[in-house]
Assembly symmetry: C2
Homo-oligomer: 135 residues x 2
């Protein structure tokens, strides 16, 4: 059981690192490849909550534009995973900002919490919560 | 196993509702009663992350002052729980603001994600992520 949990952490770490890498590569198909259909995201922009995989997918297109135009970064600085048998959560800090923002040290630390559950024996992201500390 | 998970959800719901109730009552002892020593909080104010139960406890005193002086609310509007055997996460929206802010419909929806793990057979809060949608 301990081994299976450690194995879960390894799988989830790879999944989240792959997701962040897909964001940087601006490949929406890979970004949404490991989510549940009913994913709920608390995102940075004004909407209180984004519900469902279609709405989730749509949030990435303006972000990809911003990443490209601002020469932005989306790099995981640290990632901690707590995995059980079928439910897990992860907390991460990311270096996230446009080149100009990072030069001013503005909005640099994105906080991210991810909730996962196992569906048909595969880990899926069911929840994301992104925020910057308040100014 | 299904029964034990449903039971987990019931216990966790009661725990989180009790925690929010302790916040409203401004009883710091009850607010911190069900956390792990190494709790990590991504809070609304500027600190990127608050680490450890002592630092966590300290964040509540200015919030209690704000609640009292602003005649503020901290009410759970909805709460969803995903529980496994030893790990769980919860997502919630809260109506949170001073009386004046709520009258202007400002900062009304606090988003909250909670990560929990079982320690000596009792559910404990190991992580909280609080944020308001960006303006």
């Amino acid at each position: 059981m301990v081994v299976s949990r450690q194995r879960g952490e390894v799988v989830i770490r790879r999944l989240i690192e792959g997701w962040a890498s897909a964001v940087r590569a601006r490949k929406v198909r890979d970004v949404v490849a490991h989510h549940t259909d009913d994913v709920v995201m608390f995102d940075v922009p004004p909407a209180v909550a984004v519900r469902g995989i279609s709405a989730y997918r749509e949030t990435w297109l303006p972000f990809f534009r911003w990443l490209r135009e601002g020469n932005g970064t989306f790099d995981i600085v640290n990632l901690d995973i707590t995995a059980g048998d079928t439910v897990a959560f992860a907390t991460a800090l990311l270096r996230c900002g446009s080149k100009a923002e990072l030069a001013r040290n503005k909005r640099s630390r994105l906080r991210l919490t991810i909730g996962l559950r196992k569906v048909h024996d595969r880990w899926r992201i069911a929840h994301e919560h992104h925020s910057f500390p308040a100014d």
